[in-house]
Symmetry: C2
Subunit: 196 residues, 2 copies
């Protein structure tokens, strides 16, 4: 096996899963239903609770993925990294209603040996640096009025090169830094870590 293959994702203890989102990364949101899967970009996400971990995320009425979330009651948040910036722009700029993003953009999901054993075939985006498998907590009123979805995180994983023991450590891995969307395809990556 060439050493350029990424390591298999490692499970993140549920009580530490909020730390994957705490610093404000843009995520890819993927869902699957009836043999169809799709992925959208979602800068508007945040942790909502510690343990059990919950998240909140905005899913616009216009997006194809929303129907897959509503039908399946599940979605995966993948945290894309600097090396995936073009993929995020492409995925975020097109609709799965009219286009197969896997065929069009080379979007791939972890499968076989590369996927965590416990992920059960859920759509974890390959090449990302963390993943949260989520179960929708239906809130019809705010989903309708504000496109706001709440979910419980049932499992989480991270690339151990940049996240372990509940902490991000990007030093020496610039291509694996998370993306923080500013506007119009411009992103910050995390820079200096300040600590006490």
């Amino acid at each position: 096996m060439p050493d350029t293959l990424p390591p298999r994702p490692l499970a993140v203890p549920l009580a530490k899963a909020y730390r994957l989102l705490n610093h404000g990364p843009t995520v890819l949101l993927s869902a699957e239903h009836g043999g169809r899967r799709n992925t959208m970009a979602a800068a508007w996400n945040m942790p909502l609770d510690f343990d059990p971990p919950k998240v909140a995320v905005v899913i616009d009425k216009a997006v194809f993925t929303r129907g897959l979330v509503e039908a399946s009651g599940r979605f995966v948040l993948s945290l894309p990294c600097a090396a995936q910036r073009s993929l995020v722009d492409a995925v975020g700029g097109a609709s799965g209603r009219s286009l197969d993003k896997e065929a069009a953009f080379g979007l791939r999901y972890l499968a076989g040996e590369a996927a965590p054993a416990e992920s059960g075939g859920q759509p974890l985006v390959a090449g990302s640096v963390a993943w949260l498998a989520c179960r929708r907590l239906p809130q019809p009123t705010i989903e309708q009025a504000h496109d706001l979805f709440l979910a419980e995180v049932e499992a989480a994983w991270a690339d151990p090169r940049v996240f372990s023991n509940g902490r991000w450590h990007f030093d020496g891995h610039d291509a694996l830094r998370t993306l923080h969307h500013v506007a119009g395809g411009a992103y910050f990556t995390p820079g200096t870590m300040l600590q006490g």
Copy 2:
């Protein structure tokens, strides 16, 4: 006037206000009611809509500021910067129920000539780099069940040294970079900007 005084905050057009939060900064949330004002730290926040701009933020039941928000129907999100890291830790680690954070930590709010003319005495934290004046959109069910508050942004301002024309530009201003909480008083600041 010594040139170390920060420039007066400049108004951010409402349609661009979401860009203040889009990259995932930790915020300070301040509210005022009946002659009492207080400030808490809130890493869990996100934009919720573009225009009119709305935000979502988690306000725990235990925090003193929540009562001020519920009573007044308003709050201000201030974006603290690297130079304010100790202040954020102090403010986030103590309760306004038992302590006056202004006296204890040197927490200050913009006043007089330093405050934007249109801010009407609302509690904008001095030394921060952007501010969003928010009006609560009451959602009793999710406030109670999930500590989740929704609000409309009625006005926004930023320090023109680091935000103008709808974009952050931190180069040359390391002390003014936003803070992105990792865990336990460790923060990332925005590093490299990637763009197309």
